[in-house]
Symmetry: C2
Subunit: 126 residues, 2 copies
């Protein structure tokens, strides 16, 4: 099992997101598998070009001050996913991030993020 | 590629959901991999027992009249995912359904569903 590798890839995703670094984001996504993304409240976006265009649009809109909270990794062979909470400016989201292993590196193939109610004060998110 | 197999497993999931058939739902989920589910607006639920308890609670709450719309399958080796819209009583959701192949059958390992705005009248969802 390579949960640490999945969690590192997941952390790199949120680092690229927080930095608004499109080149880094591009490097994180698979070039061999079909990819897709579902941003909160958006319809699905499919195909690498459209997925990257969506990140470009989001980054143009300003800083994404999103902190990943309590990531949990699940691996099966050369693929796996991470469930992670996302906190940003009092808004809470929960995301599923899918990865496949390509040439020994975990690459993203899908990200879905959706809203959840804010936790009660003093209640841990998980 | 076995997109047809992934789409068939996805269709079986929505059939079990619409029927409120807990035994069928149970049969569809992996017994070997770690599993999780994110229902719309809920925190993540992890582990097979808790996932099945969540379905039991949902089925107890009444009929889930959810129609799957425009499923699209993505496969990489022995895993894959389906992106699918869910329409129910004027509410629209979009879901990611993850599957792994176990003994030749596609078994569910994760489901995340989140709300999207209703499409404009006369506009196809995708």
């Amino acid at each position: 099992m390579d949960r640490d590798g999945l969690l590192a890839a997941n952390a790199a995703f949120y680092k690229a997101l927080a930095a608004g670094d499109l080149a880094e984001m591009d490097a994180l996504w698979s070039r061999e598998a079909g990819v897709a993304v579902i941003h909160p409240g958006w319809p699905a976006i499919t195909g690498r070009t459209a997925v990257m265009e969506s990140w470009r649009g989001i980054f143009t809109g300003g800083r994404q001050d999103i902190a990943p909270i309590s990531p949990e990794a699940y691996q099966f062979g050369d693929s796996g996913f991470v469930i992670v909470y996302e906190g940003t400016a009092g808004i809470y989201l929960v995301a599923s991030n899918l990865f496949v292993r390509e040439d020994g590196a975990w690459r993203m193939v899908h990200h879905q993020s959706g809203p959840i109610p804010a936790p009660e004060p003093d209640t841990p998110l998980m």
